[in-house]
């Protein structure tokens, strides 16, 4: 959502802090700006983390609703994205622990499945499924660290702030996750 600065001017996009101020002041609909801004990124993280699209969407919905309820307590409003991610990470940990006993399923990606009908797309789909399968076999804390580092491309300082873990512990988790993925994907590729 944007509002125009004037005829011929580029649209002015409200910052996170401005948007939060509007929501806290009672403009509930302004919250959709934040959902639009961070929804897809949150959905991607949750999907990669949980390995199940429906479960991921549920986690994201719950995360946004929790964030809305606690919005007035968001200390650094310009860093809403990081704050939201800290909620999402906790929510995914809970969901991951709950479903940890279940057999891990592959990501159901309808677009990919349709694309798989074309012969030249099959390898790509299979490879993505191998990646999802390998990710699912990582320990949850390692998967979390790997995704934050190599998918969300956060710095270790940012990761530490969001996860509450120490930098050295995070580096170790990323390293172990990387080694494990290399082994698992090598096995899959060689098979």
């Amino acid at each position: 959502m944007t509002h125009d600065a004037g005829p011929g001017s580029p649209p002015v996009v409200p910052s996170d802090a401005e948007t939060i101020a509007r929501v806290v002041a009672g403009d509930t609909e302004a919250f959709s700006i934040l959902v639009d801004r961070y929804g897809n990124r949150a959905a991607r993280y949750a999907t990669r983390m949980l390995g199940d699209r429906a479960e991921a969407e549920e986690a994201v919905q719950d995360t946004f609703v929790r964030a809305y309820r606690a919005l007035s307590r968001c200390a650094d409003r310009e860093r809403f994205g990081h704050w939201l991610f800290s909620i999402l990470i906790n929510r995914c940990r809970t969901a991951g622990a709950r479903s940890g006993r279940r057999a891990r399923t592959f990501v159901r990606d309808e677009t990919a499945l349709v694309a798989a009908a074309a012969p030249d797309a099959f390898d790509g789909v299979a490879w993505r499924e191998e990646i999802a399968h390998a990710l699912a076999r990582l320990e949850m804390s390692q998967r979390e660290a790997f995704l934050l580092k190599h998918v969300e491309q956060l710095s270790y300082d940012e990761m530490a702030a969001i996860t509450g873990a120490g930098i050295s512990a995070l580096k170790m988790r990323v390293k172990r996750a990387t080694d494990q993925l290399r082994m698992l994907l090598h096995e899959a590729y060689s098979a």
Binding site: A42, E57, V60, R128, R182, L185
Partner: protein
């Protein structure tokens, strides 16, 4: 960093769009939550207003300055069962101002009176009108039951 890790990261960075259904659900939950909060806020607001009104009434009733001067009346009739005082200040109502018996047999009460002259009498056991032995008789008492007279000076409390 190995190239394959970058390639893996790139693969995993492929967009995953939050469905429009999920977005709609989020906003529906947010609107419902906002509505609940507004209702709760209105309830608390109403309760706060009610509390202020009750407090204001309480203050008006109990904390306003008491009107008039406290005047003590006493009648030594140890054998009486009931003594009341009647006068222009209580519209000669025989139920309005009963006296209390003290251990020594004197009946007494305190009445707040506005400045000026007030005519009154005691009524003993419901039938016997008795003037106050400690006060002068009111003018005109000669024509019926004798009444007493008390005068409250302006500015006394």
């Amino acid at each position: 960093m190995p190239d394959w890790v970058d390639q893996l990261g790139e693969e995993l960075r492929a967009p995953v769009d939050l469905s429009s259904l999920a977005t709609a659900r989020i906003m529906a939950a947010v609107r419902a939550d906002a509505s609940r909060r507004r209702r709760r806020a209105r309830t608390w607001q109403a309760l706060a207003v009610a509390a202020v009104v009750v407090l204001a009434i309480g203050i008006a009733v109990y904390a306003r300055p008491v009107d008039g001067t406290a005047v003590q009346f006493a009648l030594p009739v140890p054998a009486a069962h009931e003594v009341v005082i009647v006068g222009d200040f209580n519209h000669w109502d025989t139920h309005a101002t009963p006296l209390r018996r003290t251990p020594n047999g004197t009946w007494q009460t305190t009445v707040r009176l506005k400045p000026g002259a007030h005519v009154y009498s005691f009524v003993v056991d419901g039938t016997r009108w008795v003037p106050d032995p400690a006060a002068p008789l009111a003018p005109g008492s000669d024509f019926g039951a004798p009444n007493s007279l008390v005068t409250v000076a302006p500015g006394t409390t």
